[in-house]
Amino acid sequence: MSIWDKIKHGIEEVAQDAERAVENLGQMANKGVVRSQTPEEIQRYSEWEQALRQRRLPNFVQNRMLQTSQGHLPWISTAKASELLLQRSHGVQPIGMVTGNCWYHFGYSWTQGHYDGWHTAVARMRLEALALGANAIVDVRMKVRHGEGEDMDYGVTGTAIRIRGLPPAAEPVVATVSALEFVRLLEDGVVPVGVAIGANYDWYMPWMGTVADQANQMAPFSARYQNMEISDLSAFQENVRRRALYDLREDGRRMAAGVLAHTSYTQMFRVAADQDNPERFLCRHISIGTAISYLPKNPPQHELITMVSLADHPLTSAPTSRKDLI
């Protein structure tokens, strides 16, 4: 969308604003059902506002977390019943469900927005886990919600756990796997530590057209019958991908961890030439994964037992969380 389109769009919105305001007034007059905020609500919202700005939790959330961590309120866990066994076998104690989100508007970069949105949401979830005195957040689920314009909500939820014998962590680790799998990884000396994101985008403005266009100009009648690689587009796309994967690695490196990428996404558009700009291409690539930290020289400890399942469907591992996150 060009800047003029946006302004036009904005003006249309003003018209809608006015329309709604009139509609609202009408409703108020007719039915008296438009509710306005109560003083308690206003208080609550201003607390949210301040807390989000200052990168902390509102007092009432902090309080609930404290009550939960001290056992005055019931613990909350997204885990299935089987994971409660881990309390005794591995000292894993669920404390509470933690969440974080960030609704983000893409101005100049959709790609950078994904990076910032997820990181902000995870940071907020971490704050809740800190308030609970947790060692880790497991079973972290990522979810997006599309806005009406160029915006999106990035949401994460998970279960904060405490591990018996460990002091509360200054920075709880974030794992997208369930508590069972978390423990299985821990037994093998592997620690999932967080979510890593690699995102990159670029514009390509071919001078004199792409390789295919040039070939067409040189031999207008024969080029289209020939097989040929459009090498400049290949190189452009490959570069964007490589830079995104480099970013993914760097994001992992910041956590001193390797990355198991579960979501990868590439998109390429052609934007036709207009008055101001020649024909151009936009390419973007995003990879999202779980960062895991381990010592490569230590081999896995678990023994393998071969077994045959008599069920008519094979045993399957936990469902993979390869969801549409873009």
């Binding site: 604003d17 509710r35 909500d153």
Partner: protein, 274 residues
């Protein structure tokens, strides 16, 4: 759960009687358990008694949010909560008639009626179960049957892990997300920035749903809530109105839990057929 002194239809009573002839296990049971679930429920020393169901068709009140303000739509929140509660309590009523200890595998469904967008249908359905030896001590809050959305396998596992289900707990919050004004939208042109008002709305709505669910569990004297799911839905409402719905099973530790758990030595299985 609210106590309802509702009268069940005569044919419902007749059906339930056929399922369990006055306290004996001779009746024929019905259930929607899978084979695996059925085996595991019996392994847990429970017998299925019958499918129990409760439903509620509810007309949602009308409420408008202020166009540019974040706020809870309390009329709708209450409606969603009360309707679910009614469906569950009717299902409970059936299980009391069956002299059940509890209900497993409860499914809660919401459907929109075609002819009117303000009418929603709520259904709660599950399998009533009773302890084989008639042992007491598995009942939920106030001697009523427990309710839970655990599958047969999960139910067995929960008991093995030294917990018993108390009650299915819910928290609901319907929220109106404020619209952004023109000035704010214009200000954001070309900027990569967070839309704080929207973030706040989603955060607050989720927080409210969770607070409510936790409060219910506290009322049920539970130690914790397991298997919590957080649903996000819009039941054909205007685009800026969403419901956050938290649901899970409140559980309580049993006295003899330690011995039970120590008797179990789980074996780790990693399926290699992906």
């Amino acid at each position: 759960m609210t106590d309802t002194s509702e009268h069940l239809a005569p044919h419902a009573v007749e059906r339930l009687k056929g399922l369990r002839s006055q306290g004996s296990h001779e009746g024929i049971f019905t259930s929607d358990l899978s084979v695996n679930e059925f085996v595991m429920v019996r392994k847990a020393n429970f017998e299925p008694l019958g499918l129990v169901v409760g439903s509620c068709i509810y007309h949602m009140g009308i409420q408008y949010g202020n166009w540019n303000q974040n706020m809870e739509m309390d009329v709708l929140s209450q409606a969603m909560y009360q309707a679910r509660e009614l469906a569950i309590s009717r299902m409970e009523q059936e299980s009391i008639l069956l002299q059940a200890d509890g209900i497993v595998g409860v499914r809660l469904e919401v459907k929109r009626m075609e002819w009117d967008q303000d009418i929603l249908e709520f259904m709660a359905i599950g399998t009533a179960v009773a302890h084989r030896s008639g042992a007491s001590g598995f009942k939920g809050v106030g001697g009523k049957p427990f309710t839970s959305d655990l599958s047969g396998q999960d139910f067995w596992m929960l008991l093995q892990a030294g917990y018993r289900p108390m009650e299915m707990v819910l928290g609901s919050c319907v929220y109106h997300v404020a619209h952004q004004g023109m000035l704010k939208s214009m200000g954001n042109i070309g900027r990569n920035t967070e839309m704080e008002q929207f973030t706040q709305a989603m955060y607050d709505a989720r927080e409210l749903a969770m607070e409510r669910m936790q409060h219910e569990a506290q009322e049920a004297q539970a130690d914790g809530i397991t298997g919590v799911q957080l649903h996000e839905g819009s039941h054909n409402w205007k685009p800026h109105i969403i419901e956050f719905f938290a649901v899970g099973t409140a559980v309580k530790a049993m006295e003899n839990a330690d011995a039970l758990v120590d008797g179990l030595s789980p074996q780790l299985v990693i399926p290699v057929n992906d």
